[in-house]
Structure formats: C-alpha cells, structure tokens
C-alpha cells in the first residue's frame, strides 16, 4: 500500500525524440518526480497501441501518459497524429469499460524543458489522485436509468484490493543521475536509427543546446 493517494502509479510512454530529451533534461537538472512513475521510452508515440495502454490498466496502473512530439515535429512525419487517433479510440473504450478517460493523457509538445516535463507528471499525478479510488474501482460515472445505485458488493470489496508485487518494485524513488546526460550525449551524437538524416540529427542537437542554455 506504499503508493498511496498522493503517489499514483503512472506509466509514461515517452517518444525518444523531443519528449525523451525533456525527460533526460529533467534528470540532468536533478529534478524528481513521483516514485511510482515508470518511463518507457518508445521510438515514436505512434507505436503505442491501444492494446499496450489497456494492458497497462490491466496491470493496475492508475494513469497512462503518452508524451509525443508537438504538431508538425514528428520525426516520422505523422506518428503523433496516429497516436492522437489511438488515444481517442482508447479513451472511448475506457469510458465504456467504466474507466475514467482522464486516466489516459496525451501530451503533444516539442518543448524539451525538464521542468515542464516534471510539472506535467506532477499535475497528472494530482489529477489521478483526485479521481475516486485507484483505477479499476472507479466510482460509477453518472449514467442512465439502469443501475443508478452502485452495487454494494463492489464498494465493500474495493478496500480489500491487493496490489501486485511488480508495482511495489516500480515504486522506488527515481532521481535523475549522470547516466541520463551521457545517454543524451550519445543520442545527440547520432546513435539513433541510421535512417535519421543529417538535417534531422542537427535539429536534435538544438533542443539539447537550449536545455544547457537554460541551465
């Protein structure tokens, strides 16, 4: 029961281009975010499937954040757009399943500011904490005639919910270390997919430089 109300479990799919740079910078800046947040770098937000998101909820996370590059900035031209569609579809499905659609958040931004990234996570955590209970025992959304009264049984059982061990492991405090910076360097040095054109590689350097300036 470590991950209490104030520290919801968040799974963040982070695109390895702009958003991951922001995450790296947050680390380089020594910023900290919720101990129950796990970051999964992905090649592009466009690869995150509805199934992956729903599986995360099956595994008891409270919220899923997808951090994608801002409009027009997708390295693969339209990954962020297809991600928007996936998110819309998934939210619709979540709604039907009685899972608050707010638990899935898409952030479209090419801002590589570490502070912004951490603020985003914090704000999301606050919103999730504000939702009634953990994901998976949502208070019923107001609805039509059928079943206006929530079942007594589910309320009673809600308190007795067990948390899987895996989630506990994930709940260790993450503080950014030097490692992040070194990774950033290697990324900037063009270790990314060979496909990336020189021009794009140059563009990648820019946000990193800006981050340094900021510091």
């Amino acid at each position: 029961m470590a991950a209490a109300r104030g520290n919801p479990r968040i799974l963040a799919f982070v695109c390895s281009w702009h958003p991951m740079a922001a995450a790296d910078n947050a680390g380089a800046d020594g910023r900290s975010y919720g101990t129950a947040t796990a970051i999964v770098p992905v090649d592009c937000a466009g690869v995150v499937s509805a199934a992956a998101i729903l599986r995360a909820f099956s595994s008891d996370v409270d919220g899923v954040l997808i951090a994608a590059c801002g409009s027009g900035d997708c390295h693969y031209s339209n990954g962020n757009e297809s991600c928007e569609r996936v998110v819309q579809e998934t939210r619709d499905l979540m709604g039907l399943a009685g899972l608050a659609p707010q638990r899935l958040r898409l952030d479209l931004s090419s801002d590589v500011d570490g502070g912004r990234f951490v603020a985003l996570l914090d704000e999301f955590a606050v919103e999730l904490a504000g939702l009634n209970g953990r994901a998976g025992r949502e208070r019923p959304a107001p609805s039509r005639s059928a079943g206006k009264k929530p079942a007594k049984a589910s309320k009673a059982k809600a308190t007795a919910r067990k948390k899987p061990a895996k989630a506990k492991r994930a709940a260790t405090k993450k503080t950014a270390t030097g490692k992040r910076t070194s990774r950033k360097k290697s990324v900037a040095a063009g270790k990314k997919p060979a496909k990336a054109s020189k021009a794009k590689a140059a563009a990648r350097k820019k946000p990193a430089a800006r981050a340094k300036r900021k510091r």
Partner: protein, 380 residues
C-alpha cells in the same frame, strides 16, 4: 503432455479417415494445415514440436470437422488443448487488430469497474433489475473498434432492445456485465476466461434475472455449453434473441410491416453447429411480409464459417474463405446477407470492404433488419 486431451476429445478413436481435413475450410486453402495430421501427431507423441507451429492458431474452431467426424473426435477442444499447451510453452498466436480486443477482454477479467451503458438509445426502456436480462457482450466495444468498417454494433444492441420492448419486455442491461470469455477460452487463456465467467454469473444472480437473452451466439454458446463445465450449474434460462422473438411472433404479440427484399442468411458456427438453432432466424425473416429468403448451397450444419474467430489470425486464407462465402451469397441473387452473429457481420463486412466491389452484397444484422420492419415503431 496430451494424454488428457486425447482422452477427453476421444482422439484415440480416430480412424484417419480424412473427413476432417477434407471438410476443413482452412485445409482446402492451406496444404500445410490438416486436423487429421495434428491428431495423428498427437497420438504419435509429436505434440511438443507441434506447439510451436503456427498451425496451432489456424483453426477457426468452426466445428465442421467435428460435426462430421465418424469417431466424434472433438477437434475444437483438441485445438484448445494445443493452445493452452502452446501458451504455457510461451507461444502465442498473432492477435488481430493489434491485440486491442484481447487487451479489452483481459482488462474486463482483471479490473473491477462498472460499464458505461449510456449507449442505450434514449427512446428505449431498460432496467437494472428484472426477470429478463439482455446480455450485450462486447457489442458496445466493437462499436468503437470497428466504426471504420461501418459496422454499427451499438446499433445492433439497440435494435435488439427495441425488439424486446416491442414484445413488451423491458430488459435488464447490466453495468456489471463482462465479456463472456469466448475468445479467451478458445485461445487457451483459461484463467481469464474463468474470472469472466464467475463475474457474469454473479452479475446475473444479482440482477434477479430468470431468463438471459443473447444477441451474440458466441456468448450464448459459452453460457450454455462451456460455463456449466467450469463453473457449475446455471440456474436461469438462456435463449438467442431469435428464439425469444419467434415465440412472440407465434403468439401474435410481435408482427412486422411490409419489407420488399430478397435476402440470404448466414448460419453462424456457434448458433448453428454448436447450438442447433437453424429455424428461428429463418422463421423470423419469413414472418416479414415481402421478404424473400434465398438460401445459399451450404446452409445449416454445412454452412461455411465466416472465416475468422477469436481474433487470432487474419491472413490471406481467412480472407479467401470470407470472399468465397460472399460470392456464394451474391450468387443467390439476394441484395442483403443477414447474419445473426455480430462477428460474422464484422468479418464479412471487412472482406467486402477489402474487395471493394460495386454492387456487392449488403451485410445486415438480424435484429437490425427486423427492427426496421417493425410495424408502427416500438409499441406493439
């Protein structure tokens, strides 16, 4: 490792007669796939190598082979046993639709939460407790996933309720409903299936329903044939919407207005070969004045499967089966192919869209056709 499955499916009775393979729609297109040879290999102890092969996932579980097998070998259950074994050995089939449907089913198995039923149309009457429950299954979800195909599964659920209302029945639509577990069952995920089954039975008990009506034959087959094997006796009546409606047509409570058209009918594997419900949907179509039913050559227990099942595998083979069925349907001269299974509707619509033929046959769901033909709105 297959001893139990061989015993339970009576595979040891196999005569190697070849009827199964000769009957199988997959084998006819894919020479690598042969139910007879799988049974033979299991009997020869070659099961371990078999588990890693993709053929384990190719079966449509359509039941054509088992219906004809002179030794009554239950090849569907045999396939399921292989899939359980494959899963345990770390092999999985290729989920269609990027796994979204499997993820949804798993979500429903694991999570608590209550479904949102705001999709029920405003003019319809449903209740939260009562004698008759309409089990909606995954229809609301499919509405989201298959909206691009133009298959309106939410509309199917609504037309079902509309028809029930027309019979004077205000069905329970429960927010505590779960997926019936059909696809998880047939793809070898025993645990999730059992969780879903238990939740559903508890939901029905709490609803006070004595009769459960299904629009989806898969849910119906699961409840009536599979649940009792795993979770014990079922204490309520079950029927397909076509069975429910037929009794009301017979009693004169339900009647339809004129609808001039020529249709053909797809017998779903579950409703047909599994449950033996062949006549009711036909009787309903027959009770619509002006509606003419033109049968395809392969009907009832010989009907060709809609080509895909349990959301595993959608290959050239599956598509070919679907196209074959569509052309059989078109050859009847019908303008509409009526199905009584939402999944047949989805699969065949998908193939029809892929093929993108002009003047192709329209695919409609039974309750949609009937609800359109309702004389004078929803009141009877």
């Amino acid at each position: 490792m297959f001893e139990k499955a061989i015993r339970e499916t009576k595979a040891y009775y196999c005569l190697e007669c070849g009827i199964c393979t000769g009957s199988c729609p997959v084998s006819r297109l894919n020479p690598q796939y042969s139910p007879r040879i799988m049974v033979e290999r299991a009997l020869l102890d070659d099961d371990e190598t078999m588990l890693s092969e993709r053929e384990v996932w190719d079966c449509l579980t359509c039941g054509t082979c088992s219906a004809r097998c002179p030794s009554t070998v239950d090849f569907n259950e045999f396939t399921r046993a292989m899939r359980i074994g494959a899963r345990e050995s770390g092999f999985e089939g290729v989920d269609t639709h990027a796994g979204i449907l499997r993820a949804l089913m798993e979500l429903e198995a694991r999570r608590r939460g209550r479904r949102d039923i705001s999709w029920v149309a405003d003019d319809l009457r449903v209740s939260s407790r009562g004698k008759v429950l309409f089990f909606t299954g995954c229809l609301p979800y499919y509405g989201v996933v298959f909206s691009e195909l133009g298959v309106d599964t939410v509309g199917m659920a609504n037309s079902t309720i509309r028809l029930m209302n027309a019979c004077g029945v205000r069905p329970v639509v429960s927010r505590d409903e779960r997926c019936c577990g059909h696809d998880l069952y047939w793809t070898g995920d025993r645990d999730s299936f059992k969780k879903l089954a238990r939740k559903n039975l508890k939901m029905i008990e709490e609803s006070g329903a004595r009769t459960v009506v299904f629009a989806c034959p898969e849910c119906y087959a699961m409840f009536s044939q599979i649940y009792p094997k795993f979770v014990g006796k079922i204490g309520f009546d079950m029927m397909h919407i076509s069975e429910f409606l037929v009794s009301h047509v017979e009693s004169g409570r339900l009647s339809f207005g004129e609808k001039e058209s020529r249709v053909t009918y797809q017998d779903p594997c579950r409703l047909g070969r599994f449950l033996g419900v062949y006549e009711e949907p036909r009787a309903l179509l027959g009770s619509v004045p002006g509606l003419e039913l033109a049968e395809m050559p392969r009907v009832r227990s010989e009907a060709l499967c809609c080509g895909s099942s349990a959301w595993v595998g959608c290959t050239r083979i599956n598509k070919s089966i679907q196209l074959e069925r569509l052309s059989e349907a078109a050859d009847t001269g019908a303008t509409t192919l009526v199905t009584s299974c939402p999944k047949c509707n989805i699969h065949l619509s998908c193939a029809a869209k892929d093929k993108d033929t002009d003047g192709g046959i329209e695919i409609s769901f039974l309750t949609d056709v009937l609800s359109d033909a309702l004389a004078g709105g929803t009141e009877s």
